[in-house]
Symmetry: D2
Subunit: 336 residues, 4 copies
């Protein structure tokens, strides 16, 4: 038996058929380069409709770059972004925000289950604006969070309002925003919360590599294409990054697939013989599992990663089948 | 009539069927992320075979980033890369080398038809190593050049040898290396010339977005994945960037398509009523055309760009048809 | 005979007695660090009086850093500053603007005698704002220029107005602003021209290392101390950088010494047997001298540098004596 | 009564007479710029003698910049430096290492009294070299530490050896190295420990602004002047940064003054009615004092800072008098 990567990440899944079909559909004839094509225009329009927002939309290759550039748009090098201490930008991107932001800092905030605790945010915002430290200029939130939980609209408001009151701008890492939406977050009202820049994930949602960079504060979009070009994120053949969003948005596949992934995560959580660490609100399940047990699971061919909170993550995607969940559940049960 | 982008760039073409078919073939089942998958391994092996070289190979999203990171690998911020003054890195990438290289400098060299003149290189290398200027640490060459000419092996040697003698490393921007190969350059012997890093172009060769970063000096590859991850160029779903290279390399489509593009360029040059500025050795034709004439061509729906040398560029690709060439030739004749 | 560095640069001179006396006067008792001391407050006030401007003033160690940081304040990494192609920031600072500005670009403009030609500026401003190039966000002017000439107020206006009309901010490199003032430029009206940031030189004016960074647009000064601290330009012992300005400003020594330096340059120009290349308006003289002659001058112990325009520069300072000028003139005559 | 800054920092003291006298002595005649003068050569020789080391020595304006550049020499942007979590580079320099190092990361290590705990270091070194995190390339140590303690030679060895075994280079922040030496650390044998770059502090030791950057691995010094120039740390008038070191080193004033400062700290610790938090081995005393008490001390005119460990720091310098210590001790007693 070969290794099973089904649950190792939502990056291990293949692309959804709607996404690939849209690429095939866009792959005819000659089209202007660098995002001036009609495929890109149509995809941007669909993103604006999804968010019910007037925004500049660009399709880029990398979520790491998109989020780091978003922060560089909001913070100067001698400033910092506030984020959950286990946010992807803090722990898994090899310092990309500092690279794209020329040394911009990150201030990690505590909080249960991947959500920034309002108290932790308040304490950070109460720090004096001192020239010897990088003071916050932005709040970065991730929804769904790294731990498979989902901020409600009210929870987002409770974090955004005090940050804005202290002069911070707001960035949303939406690598799994589709999963949050499928869990009940109303995307159409999201941007009225005061978000300045968000990244709507493509890859983890079942697309071949693409992410939508959505700049809601149009003033921040001045010379945006130049910013992207310099950073290697203005694709010459733009249609290949835009088309998957058409395929996934034009008939609702994005949210439909996300709902499926969320359901698979719930199915896994319910079947798990190990304690579930965090509420299963999106497409990931975190199980409490000691190191020898995880080694045995790996030996049985199932890959999964231990996270910074000590639990082990299992991620579902559009491609996760109920049968695979049941197989994994059996494997887990055999370890107990 | 809609605009015709056929000849505006090789970025305007759709992806070749071999490339898309390989993506479809790779798009099944779950695969490890970040380049640890078998598709990526196979594609890397094919690149090494093409170049007959033991090298670290990565598949990245952006030629801009790949070339800029390559330079950042070779030069420190207080050093510079030597390049033709009209090289893409000097004129068309919004300062990407300085961004990825933290201020690294570019020293533009003169030379006919996009080729660095040996005299210009010698003069630059003869400058004293002075702390108040960014002294050269690398020579960057582009083959085929921006002006559709091709350096022969001997021409490359004549530039690389003196640069290496002064302590410079060597970077090759191979966005159109396939066209150079189709014009007669022997890729299998290329890397013995002393090239340290090269970028083998995918996009301009007919693939959906992907470029191969080939690090020939393995010492430079230390923590290469970390370097790429930080810069937003370690794709999570690596197979989508690797598969097109399999499709294009496994049965020779890459060079076959490049040969076709080159042939179309020659056909266009032969039919052109305007003077051809540079030797047509690869897939581009540069015509001498005054501004009012170019405006009339645009008005007729054919897009083309004026270059820094004052001539107007027409680019052919795998998808260029003889009929399209003939149509363009007719359009050109009608302007005379 | 030892080498004579008198005319090699205005950096070779010792510090003027007024500057050192002010340091000695400030060197008593304990004082708050990082610019919160009374010496710094007093010096800043004197700079504001000199310029008749309400401005944020900081005293920093390095003109290279001060000018590069000023540009980083005005331009984002994917933008560029327009400057004379032989301006110090373009030719003599090892790419510092790109380092402090994270890849920000420089667009060199032609012009006689170190002054930007209005035509060259207009041509650069007329370039389309194209995402593949770094478009200008700032105009950087140097007064007195690198070639010892002085922009008049009207000349400055003719450059600043069209740049501002295209959305550019304005930086003034005033390493030799005292010499420009001594040549007749009215400093009290200077900042009404629309300058956003200027650097008032200390070192070349006869002070031990110190430069005044003057931020005229106070919005740009947000978190200025954090910007400086991060860049290594917020001196812990601020009084040592501030005191020299007190010594040089409180009784007019700055302009008096600059007037002397200018006078010495005129004396040298008048006595020179070699053709003077540029108008001698400030403290430098550029002579037309072929390489063998310059070598003989060096062999005779007098150091001077050949500049990019091909002429040889001789610089006077507060410490230049008429006798030294006459000695040099004799040495020059012996070479003819 | 005015505020008393005597104990707020060693940056608040005036410059020692030996340092200023040396500046006056160097301030005659014309001298080559940019460190090519005889004053700089003599000072560098004295630093080499102090350390009994063959090294490249430069005199720069800023400790922040010197340490950040040293780290940039040792780490690439996608790598990190290990340091005590309360080290100055981690907590008080506004992210300077990330700015000078283009995003290079810092990994904070725990440890009592400002010393890195060997266990914490071992745990960090045992982390897998993973492309999604910035893995360590350097160990940065501060001696004397931020908390006024001094690493012994054996303690340094115990940290350096395992770091080197994992491929890390070593940086020493010696802002208070003189105090460590006065506490018994043998400087002549220091560099045999495997330190690659160190910064020997001038400012905190009683000099006007200057720091010595000492590059012990000469391979790292390639194009060092270009590196410094680009970063604004190659002083044009080098003698002003070099001379203070002559004044302080030629007859032992550096260590004599440091011994005095250390003695004053011990005197204060002995007289303090508040609990002393850390061993008083160098020139600082950390007292346990609750916020209302510190406010009363400030109200009484004595400035001191609360540190990250919760205690309040009092620093002595060459200029601290026994009388001032006794006055402060009285003020402290009146608060109990």
């Amino acid at each position: 038996m070969n290794g099973r990567y089904d649950f190792a990440s939502d990056n291990t899944a293949p692309a959804a058929p709607e996404a690939l079909a849209a690429i095939a559909a866009a792959n005819h004839g000659f089209a202007p380069a660098y995002g001036a094509d009609t495929t890109t225009a149509r995809a941007a329009e669909l993103v604006r409709e999804l968010l019910d927002a007037d925004a500049e939309v660009r399709f880029v290759a990398s979520g790491t770059a998109a989020n780091a550039l978003a922060l560089a748009t909001l913070c100067r090098p001698f400033e910092a972004a506030l984020a959950h201490q286990h946010a992807h930008i803090c722990t898994d991107e090899t310092g990309a925000p500092g690279f794209f932001g020329h040394g911009l800092g990150l201030i990690g905030l505590a909080g249960e289950a991947g959500k920034v605790a309002p108290d932790a945010l308040a304490a950070a915002l109460a720090q004096p604006d001192f020239a010897h430290r990088q003071s916050p200029a932005a709040l970065s939130l991730t929804n769904a969070t790294e731990y498979g939980t989902v901020y409600s609209r009210i929870e987002l408001e409770r974090l955004i309002a005090p940050a804005q009151a202290q002069g911070c701008r707001v960035h949303l890492d939406g690598a799994r925003l589709a999963n949050a939406a499928a869990a009940g977050l109303d995307l159409a009202k999201l941007t009225t919360l005061g978000i300045d820049v968000l990244v709507l994930g493509g890859g983890k949602a079942g697309m071949p590599p693409t992410e939508a960079l959505v700049v809601l504060d149009r003033a921040l979009a001045h010379r945006l294409d130049a910013r992207l070009k310099q950073a290697g994120q203005l694709p010459s053949k733009g249609r290949f990054y835009a088309a998957p969003f058409i395929g996934m948005l034009q008939d609702g596949a994005l949210l439909r697939h996300a709902a499926h992934a969320n359901a698979m995560a719930r199915r896994l959580a319910e079947a798990s013989p190990f304690k579930v660490r965090h509420p299963v609100e999106a497409n990931a399940v975190f199980l409490e599992m000691d190191p020898p047990t995880l080694e045995r699971l790996h030996a049985a061919g199932w890959f999964a990663y231990r996270f910074l909170d000590g639990s082990v993550r299992f991620v579902c995607s559009w491609a996760t089948t109920p049968e695979a969940v049941d197989e994994l559940a059996e494997a887990l049960k055999s370890l107990v």
